[in-house]
Amino acid sequence: MFVYIMRRVLWSVPFLFAASLLAFAIIQLPPGDYVESYAARLEADGQQVDEVRIIALRDRFGLDRPFIVQYWKWISGIFQGDFGLSFQWQQPVSELIGDRMFLSVILATSTLLFTWAIALPIGVYSAVKQYSVGDYVFSIIGFIGLATPNFLVALILMYVGVVVFGTNVTGLFSPEYANASWSWGKFIDLLKHLIIPVAIIGTSATASLIRIMRANLLDELFKPYVTTARAKGLSEFKAIIKYPVRIALNPFASTIAWVFPQIISGSTIVAVVLSLPTVDPLMLDALLSQDMYLAGAFILLLSVMSIVGMIVSDIVLALIDPRIRYR
């Protein structure tokens, strides 16, 4: 098992490398370099442009050197915790990311847990009671969930919240906790606010997982071993949960690998609409104002997050299915 995990983690190194290259390429793509736009911005604000500072900045990021050298400067800085400078905020990027990244991770993981918690029982129910009223209802809800863009659900919920209930569903904290330090009360407050974004982001992933679980289980349910289990007098519940569901879980676990990037992707839009204090609104802002070092750091971190999620899902899969770890 240990060997398997080690191999899996090593395999992800080239992935992480490619992700960082991609993020850096995005930083590099806009015409002109970062210091040029920084100087232009300072001048536009009517500030003095300090030549020494400009030269120091150019040197720091190696802007006159080829792509690979610049990339090396950037990535080796990141290993020392230096993500570059956000020229819009006039702060090191690492200071801006901290808390927001933490909330993003919480949001993504709780969405993943929510997705499983909902999709698993419904999938099992839909398969066992195939073509029942409940099955049809869940199928229809599932299809609509797949077809609706996340942000539309968020907008509609906001609309309902404001017009019908007169409350605001945006944000992750109540005003009194927004700037408070962490406490039990703040944690409970966070949980309360998490429910709506988690439900919105999870809809489409839940919908597809339900369909996968249903199809997997349907393949298993009519196999002879289930009949044998029934014939031997196992209770219906045990006969289904203990054997076919366990087998149907395998392909289900392997889907986590793509569900996680999907969740991170979906949370970007929902977080912007609901103005959650996660990395996403700041990233969009940075992209819109071409604050490329900040944006690049976010793209890198989100990609790393989804690669890590993939590793975790592979390990989970290996835990459930011995055939994989002994291959």
């Binding site: 080239p14 992935f15 490619a18 992700a19 991609l22 993020a23 995005i26 793509l29 806009p30 015409p31 299809f143 609509i144 797949l146 077809a147 609706t148 863009p149 996340n150 942000f151 539309l152 907008l155 509609i156 906001m158 609309y159 404001v162 017009v163 690998a257 793509w258 990037p261 999907q262 991170i264 992707s265 979906g266 970007t268 839009i269 912007v272 609409v273 996403d280 990233m283 969009l284 992209l287 819109l288 071409q290 944006a295 690049g296 976010f298 793209i299 989100l302 990609s303 997050m305 989804s306 690669i307 993939m310």
Partner: protein, 377 residues
């Protein structure tokens, strides 16, 4: 199970071509058939969108800011007290609350704006070059305005704008998927047919792209498009960005099918007969692939449409003056304007309908794609 065998003679069944078998099977799937008609309707509307609009989508009107939607009533009671077929909408008047100064539209049951099919309107150019002046629905008196889906904050007609957006949103799906299809069949086909290191490298690349969160990367790439670029160029840039990531799914399908087909007897036979790789691929393998590719394409289009809508909604996709469903929905980002004008959600309903229909269509096609499988024929 095989009720079509009962209807048609076994001989007819045995002689039917692959496409006939597929069509026969597709027709069984009632929801997919209905979806096919809906999708076709949307493409017709997209192609001739000017004809289906009621007004010029850019025409602003200060008197009609946030004008609510009006429903077409088919019958009216005439002076003699009989019901008579005369389609019309009830007029609405802008009233200002004397205390709060809030503006409100009140229905005026006396004022009727009669509408007709194929009525005359201001002249316009169909497809940008055919001069016409009749529209699908128009007011009998062309000086009067009516708003089927309401108006936005500049008093522009939402019906016309949504219909105009149909063209951009539906076509970006098609163009994007065509590009992804090209990349996907090329890379997936090479990986599946050649195998070896080509397969290993492209499979890793696909895995890498699939493990990335797509929206942040799309956003990052489209943020690098210069902001003042020509709308048409921007449209193509966005399509390219979308298909740079969208090809992976298609490549996987193609590769899987190629791997499965490569060892089939008829392919081996063709190769042993001395057919060139080109001939084996295009003459022998492609015909059994096409149906699967069509099915995956129809499942890839809705993903493209959703992606474009999301990007434009966030302000990094298409931008004004281009009209797409995402651009229109951007207007509803402001909670105050949707509280005042919930009809700004209408383009969202269009997105849902099209994506739903395309998904069902794709499901039906996928089931029908393999006419020799054991399921009900």
């Amino acid at each position: 199970m095989s009720n079509s065998l009962d209807q048609s003679s076994p001989m007819e069944f045995a002689e039917a071509t692959q496409w006939q078998l597929m069509w026969r099977r597709f027709k069984k799937h009632k929801v997919a058939l209905l979806s096919l008609y809906i999708v076709l309707l949307f493409y017709v509307v997209a192609a001739f969108s000017e004809f289906f609009q009621t007004y010029d989508p850019e025409e602003t009107s200060r008197r009609d800011v946030f004008h609510p939607p009006q429903m077409i009533r088919l019958f009216e009671v005439n002076d003699a007290g009989n019901r008579q077929f005369r389609p019309h909408v009830l007029g609405m008047n802008l009233e200002r609350d004397p205390i709060t100064l809030a503006s409100n539209y009140a229905v005026d049951p006396e004022e009727r704006i009669y509408v007709t099919l194929f009525g005359r309107s201001d002249p316009y150019l169909l497809l940008g070059f055919i001069p016409m002046e009749r529209r699908l629905i128009a007011a009998v008196d062309s000086d009067e305005k009516f708003f089927l889906f309401g108006a936005d904050r500049l008093g522009r007609d939402m019906w016309s704008r949504t219909i105009a957006g149909t063209r951009v949103s539906m076509s970006i799906g098609l163009v994007g998927v065509a590009l992804s299809l090209f990349l996907g069949t090329l890379i997936g086909g090479m990986a599946g047919y050649l195998g070896g290191w080509v397969d290993a490298v492209s499979t890793r690349a696909i895995e890498l792209i699939l493990s990335m969160p797509t929206i942040p990367i799309w956003l990052g790439l489209s943020a690098t498009i210069p902001p003042n670029i020509d709308p048409l160029l921007r449209y193509f840039a966005i399509t390219i960005i979308l298909s740079l990531i969208g090809w992976t799914e298609l490549a996987r399908v193609v590769r899987g099918r190629f791997l499965a087909l490569r060892t089939e007897d008829f392919v081996t036979a063709a190769r042993l007969d001395g057919a060139s790789p080109k001939r084996v691929i295009f003459r022998h393998m492609m015909p059994s692939l096409v149906s699967h590719i069509i099915a995956s394409v129809s499942l890839a289009i809705p993903a493209m449409i959703l992606a474009e809508t999301s990007l434009s909604f966030l302000g990094l996709g298409l931008q004004q003056p281009t009209i797409s469903w995402g651009v229109l929905l951007q207007e509803s980002q402001n909670i105050r304007s949707i509280a005042q004008a919930p009809w700004l959600f209408v383009p969202g309903a269009f997105v849902m309908l099209v994506v739903l229909a395309l998904n069902f269509l794709g499901d039906g096609l996928r089931d029908a794609a393999d006419p020799y499988s054991q399921h009900s024929i």
